[in-house]
Structure formats: structure tokens, C-alpha cells
């Protein structure tokens, strides 16, 4: 069942974004940023945790999970060490995405040339 939910959730989010992209003047940059913020908002209302529980990787592969991870590690950091913990731990679990992207992009940029 979780496989079907994963397919459905990821598919529906992509579908909605595609419809917005085609019918408004927003660029992909606007849409990915808004989806990230929406992820953080859903996490704030405690909805995203439930979505992850039911849809598994369907929810964690999307960019909205970036906002969710930022928010949840921010909360965990605050509970651990107060306002300083919020600053030091905010990027804790989303670091895998940022560091991964930077390292791979840098290495592959050194190895490959731009195709036109």
C-alpha cells in the first residue's frame, strides 16, 4: 500500500506544479522555492510527518522534504540547546542534500565539459 501511496503523492505534487507552471508566468525557480516553503509550513502544522508516515519515499524525495527537514531539525536543536541550538542544528539533517550537491557538482564539473 505504501508503494501506491508513494506513487500517488509524488505524482500528484508534480502534477499540481506542472499545471501551475503551464498556466501562470511563474518560473521553475518560483515553484521549487514555494514548494520548499510549503513543506516547512506543512511541517509546522504537523501534517508532513503524517504524510511521510503514509507515503514514505514519495514524500521524502520531493523538494518539500527539504523544508520539512530544516524545520524538524530546527525544533530538535531548540529543544536541545535553546536559541543557540536553533542556529547550530538548523542544517543538521538537510546537510546531506546541500553537501552532497556541492561535492558532486564540484567533482563532476572538474571531470566533464558543458554540452551545448
Amino acid at each position: 500500500m505504501i508503494y501506491f501511496n508513494a506513487f500517488l503523492f509524488a505524482g500528484v505534487v508534480c502534477l499540481i506544479c506542472q499545471v501551475v507552471l503551464d498556466n501562470t508566468k511563474l518560473t521553475p525557480g518560483h515553484i521549487t522555492s514555494s514548494v520548499t516553503v510549503i513543506g516547512a509550513l506543512l511541517s509546522f502544522f504537523g501534517i508532513y510527518d503524517k504524510i511521510v508516515l503514509h507515503c514514505g519515499a514519495g514524500a521524502t524525495t520531493l523538494i518539500s522534504n527539504f523544508g520539512h527537514m530544516l524545520y524538524s531539525s530546527g525544533i530538535a536543536g531548540y529543544e536541545e540547546a535553546g536559541i543557540l541550538g536553533l542556529f547550530t542544528k538548523l542544517l543538521c539533517s538537510s546537510g546531506v542534500a546541500i553537501v552532497g550537491v556541492v561535492i558532486f557538482s564540484f567533482v563532476f564539473t572538474l571531470l566533464f565539459k558543458a554540452k551545448d
Binding site: G11, C14, Q18, A40, G100, V101, V102, S105
Partner: protein
Amino acid sequence: MNKEEYQELVQTLTPKEPKLRNAIVAFLVGGSIGFIGEIIVKILMESFGLSRVDSCAWLAFILILFASLMTALGKFDNWVTKAKCGLIIPTTGFAHSVQSAALDYKKEGFITGIGANMFKLAGSVILFGIVSSFFLVLLRVMLYG
């Protein structure tokens, strides 16, 4: 021919975006990424004994590696043109935007090229992600202590 007639002519000649087809393709591609991701997570959990959170982090890692490598090999751009949001909204789109910006500006040097332009497109995701989650955490703390 006056200006309005010209505008009308332009509109009739501009190729129409196949909106329905785009939406269906985005649904299928995005859904498949979620579905395959779930299979990978299950495999990681069962064969390596990882927790669900760790498996999801590995999955993000695998998707980023895959998207960066395919962008560097020049294949991913064509896929994005076809699948659009199906590949932009998952983590692959994030990796793709950084990788393609870095490759495009490689010829301008390390500092002014790669360094300055790497996050040209993905920077807004990081900025608004951090800003929104920071203030939401503060709001939560103020409301519930």
C-alpha cells in the same frame, strides 16, 4: 497590418504547450520516482539494517548522485525538457540546477565562474527554506514554549 492584428497573428503561430500531456507526463515521472524511491528505501532497510530516516537520507544521496552524473553526461537536460516538473520537483531538480549552472560557468574560472554561479538557481530554495523554517521555529516556540 496594425499592432493588434500582428499580436493575433503571433498568437496563432506560437506553438501551443500540450498542457494535458505535460501534466500526465509529470504525474507519471514524479510518481515513478516516489515509487522507485520507496523500493530503494525498503531494500536499504532490509539488506543493511538501516533505520527509515537513514535510508531516506541515503536515497536523497543516491538521487543527487544520479542527477548530477546524468547532467554532467549531458542526458538530464533532455529529460527535464520532456518531463518538466516530474524531474524538477523531486530532489533531482535541485541537483540538476546546481550541476548545470556549475558546468555552464566553468569556462569563466573557479572563483568568478563556478564559485559565484553554482547556486544561481538553487540559492533561492536554500534561502527561502532556511528563512521560512527559522521563523516558523521561532513562531512555534513563541506559541507553545
